[in-house]
């Protein structure tokens, strides 16, 4: 009973201003340890605001979410432990933390590790298993797929079902979608092109370009930068607004209006255009380990291309500045303001989760990026 009351109280708080209380840890039965967001809007707002916070601010925010341990926290612990191990000449991924929290990262094909979640902004809001509840859906996010289940009142084992399943079950309200990334789709049939440029004889897939730069003798430091266009499909609640004619009994006239309704849809898509920067140090035995710093910078221009240039129902500027028209060249010049990290993403643009309106959105091949790791003499350009 106490738990139920607490849950009700928590749910009623979620429309409040984010900085005061955007999300609460569910203390309901089964000792749930994930965050709940009342709606997609609340979740999107939380992601946008948390993405502006430094790691110190995120640490404080997470401490306020009692009982909740984020994937970000464990991931950073693994990074720290691996850095210490690397400095001591030990092999990568042999630290205690790397063994304990193997779920929170995936070994990167470029060396080191990457968070086991496709949208790196989510690191702070999903738990170590990638679980978060948004509206009536419970989701499990990972780098390669998104699993969602429609939560029904009284059902207690939906999180367990979500974790256990690898296949969709429509009857059970459970969906599984692969994450589509321009770097490499789930089948691996779209390879990234190293450092390729628009004028290259090999035409790169837009949004898949990659570069790397080294310094030290022999190579000791390394920056890698790559574009990524994400398509994340999942279930959720979609707000659909349509124009209609409504009778006004006061005036006695029919008036145009827009009526909106929230629809549960198991198949929604969100697009995101971004530039990733990762910084690494080579260990004595030749392997590359993540190396945190606050010296990452990037500048350049970007724009989107799409088979349909209508981006609807909405989109947001990322953390590289305000965007007026994502299909026109936009200059950006950004510096890492989050504090020490080896895993940084600068987001240009992100769409609203929707069932239609976006079609094959990509970063245009004319986009340019100059990335610098200050203090380590590493840089590369796309």
């Amino acid at each position: 009973m106490t738990s139920c009351l607490l849950l009700v109280g928590v749910m009623s708080c979620q429309n409040e201003v984010f900085d005061e209380q955007v999300a609460e840890v569910s203390q309901a039965q089964n000792k749930q340890d994930y965050l709940e967001f009342k709606s997609e809007e609340a979740f999107a707002k939380a992601l946008a605001e948390l993405n502006q916070k430094s790691h110190v601010q995120l640490d404080i925010w997470e401490q306020e979410q009692k009982g909740f341990v984020s994937l970000r926290k464990r991931y950073n612990e693994v990074i720290k432990a691996e850095e210490i191990n690397g400095d001591n000449g030990l092999e990568p991924l042999k630290s205690r933390e790397a063994t304990l929290y193997a779920r929170v990262y995936v070994p990167s094909e470029y060396g080191g590790i990457e968070p086991n979640v496709a949208d790196w902004r989510m690191m702070a809001v999903v738990n170590v298993d990638g679980i978060v509840k948004i509206g009536n859906f419970i989701h499990q996010f990972s780098k390669s797929e998104t699993k969602s289940i429609l939560h029904k009142v009284g059902v207690k084992d939906d999180v367990a079902k979500l974790k256990a399943t690898s296949k969709a079950n429509i009857a059970a309200g459970l969906t599984v979608f692969p994450v589509v990334s321009s770097q490499k789709n789930i089948s691996g049939s779209v390879p990234s092109v190293k450092g390729a440029r628009p004028s290259d004889s090999v035409t790169p897939l837009p949004g898949s370009r990659f570069c790397e730069g080294f310094s030290g003798s022999p190579q000791e430091w390394r920056i890698i930068a790559y574009e990524e266009m994400l398509e994340i499909k999942r279930g959720g609640e979609e707000t659909i607004c349509e124009p209609s004619i409504k009778y006004n009994s006061t005036t006695g006239q029919y008036e145009p209006t827009i009526s909106c309704r929230t629809v549960t849809n198991p198949n929604l898509t969100q697009y995101q255009a971004q530039l990733h920067i990762r910084t690494l140090k080579r260990g004595f035995w030749g392997s590359w380990n993540d190396r945190s710093s606050s010296g990452q910078q990037a500048n350049g221009t970007w724009k989107l291309t799409a088979s349909s240039t209508i981006v609807s129902p909405g989109w947001n500027s990322g953390n590289t500045g305000t965007v007026n028209n994502p299909f026109a060249n936009t200059s950006y010049n950004v510096t890492n303001t989050t504090g020490e990290t080896s895993t940084l993403n600068f987001i240009f643009w992100t769409s609203t989760l929707a069932s239609s309106g976006n079609s094959n959105v990509r970063l245009d091949g004319s986009s340019t990026h100059n990335t610098i790791w200050n203090g380590y003499n590493c840089q590369c350009s796309i």
Partner: protein, 354 residues
Amino acid sequence: MGRRVVTPTHDINFLMRNLLFLLVVCSVSGCIQAVDIDGPEYVKKPVVFGILHPDSLLKVNLTWSRPATTTNPALSIKNAEVTFFENGTPLGESVDKEDGNYSLPVRPKTGRSYKVEIKISALPLITAEDYIPRWMDTNLYVSDRNPSNTNSNPDITYTLKNFLPDNSTLWMGLYSTQYFPDGWAPGCIVGGQIQPGCELIIRKITGDSYVTTASPIFDSFNGFFDPLSNRFSNSSPARVRADILADEDTPTVKFAAFNQGEDRWGQVKRPNDTRPFGENILEITFAGPAYDRYLKSALLAYQNRLTDFDGNLFSPFAEPSPVYSNVTNGLGIFGARNGRYIVLKLNTTYQLTP
């Protein structure tokens, strides 16, 4: 649930264990002690430095060695008698003796040995010798950008035609040019013209100039194998293994750059970048036996460091590495080389004849 029963024997054992632990802690902490080890006693010695090349005059610079405790500039030796020899025949005594620099208006020839004899009063005769390698008939090819290489850099193929070993060693380095002064020097190029006071220099930074290969054709002392890219990588300059050249009549060295080139290999100019582009440069050097040993030992000494600039472990096997000297009764190096700098362009073949 059982309850642990504590007996007097347990207490004694417990106390003994703790006492033993304390004793070990005290004795171990007592082992930490700063130890000063005196270095070798400073003995003032003459230092000879001269790297001969066919396009430059015979020249050496003479200074006195300095104690390790000073940062003062080295004092030049001004009253020495310096004689140069070609294949054992004296060419004459140096006529120019400014600031410790001694030269002779003679350019060394390839395929010959050069020796220097230096007389300084009250010191034994100082001598050093090296050999100027011949330039081989060679061919250089730069491909188009290759997506299978890091940063899609082009393949660079260097072929030695009718290779004749002559006791020299081949070194190769990838560098770039850039405009100086003032770093990138915005304003050095106005309307496509180089402005006065700006010059194009070759930027040789050991820390960010690399060559990478699919097979281990370069000496591994300043390189490593990267399992991620499945390629070998060496800092520039890289030393071509002698056995690679000796195995074939027409040996070929194929490699690529790791970092992006200075001009991004002819790509479009980037926005927000006011600096003019430089060029990608390949340095090809045939090193004489003494210069080869000196260069390798000097680079090895730099590689052989215990910590990096962050103070973290760089190499647990680091140890002092002496730098080679071919100077009898002195320090330094009197070496010889024969090299060329090539400005690299995509899809281009270069005939590099002797």
